[in-house]
């Protein structure tokens, strides 16, 4: 059973307020994933107290980096169940976990942060992990 929309709203707004597109349906996911040009980040958000509390501020901080993804989207695990399943289907060889973060370049998954690499870290450490990946995979695109 999905969570109460009232409960998850502030957790969603931490990302949508900084430009993340909320993908609510499998069709939304396919449309967003179907645009394979450029760089993109998909955050699988969740209510998980051990990890999501570090993931969202870590993502926000990472996006202040000069090199950063051009397109941002999010699905909410446990809330938009079908959309989350469809999103995970686009990187089906990776075990599902939430929260988690996927980085894409020209439609190809180039970096993935699973839940266990968030739950043991601070928001600053999550941000450092992401900014290193942004610099590695997105710097050339950001310079164009």
């Amino acid at each position: 059973m999905p969570y109460s929309p009232l409960m998850v709203r502030p957790m969603k707004e931490e990302l949508t307020s900084i430009g993340f597109e909320e993908l609510l349906t499998p069709e939304d996911v396919d449309r967003w994933m179907g645009d394979t040009e450029g760089t993109a980040m998909l955050v699988i958000n969740s209510v998980c107290g051990c990890a999501a509390g570090q993931a969202r501020p870590g993502v926000r901080h990472a996006l202040t980096n000069p090199a950063r993804p051009e397109r941002l989207a999010t699905v909410f695990a446990g809330q938009e169940v079908e959309a989350t399943a469809r999103a995970r289907g686009h990187f089906a060889d990776i075990p599902p976990s939430s929260p988690s973060i996927a980085l894409f370049k020209d439609g190809e998954l180039v970096y993935f942060v699973p839940r266990h690499r968030i739950e043991s870290r601070s928001a600053e450490q999550v941000a450092a992990d992401l900014t290193a990946a942004f610099d590695r995979y997105f710097a050339a695109a950001a310079a164009r």
Binding site: C48, C50, I94, P95, S97, H116, E119, S120, R121
Partner: protein
């Protein structure tokens, strides 16, 4: 940095690696742990040599991507456990 449940072990909610003195190594989300047992949720188990992979090779992949759960909930006797570590710190 787990969740704060006073009645649970500090690793509650954290993905851990439970290595045993035998061929088995477990990975799952710690529900609770005491002197008698470790309880894992959404757990996977690997046995030395399964699929041609050692425990170490299994751990290296798990540390990058996580694991596919085989069990919703397992209880592992502490007698045979040699270590419990956070997967995220490997």
């Amino acid at each position: 940095m787990g969740t704060f449940h006073d009645d649970k072990h500090e690793l509650h909610g954290i993905t851990v690696v439970v290595d045993t003195a035998g061929p088995e190594i477990w990975i799952g989300r710690c529900d609770d742990m005491d002197e008698r047992q470790v309880v894992l949720l959404d757990a996977d188990v690997h046995r030395e040599g399964d699929g041609g992979r050692s425990k170490q090779q299994y751990l290296e992949r798990a540390a990058r991507f996580g694991v596919w759960k085989k069990y919703d909930r397992v209880r592992i006797e502490r007698d045979g456990v040699v270590s419990v570590r956070r997967l995220g710190e490997l």
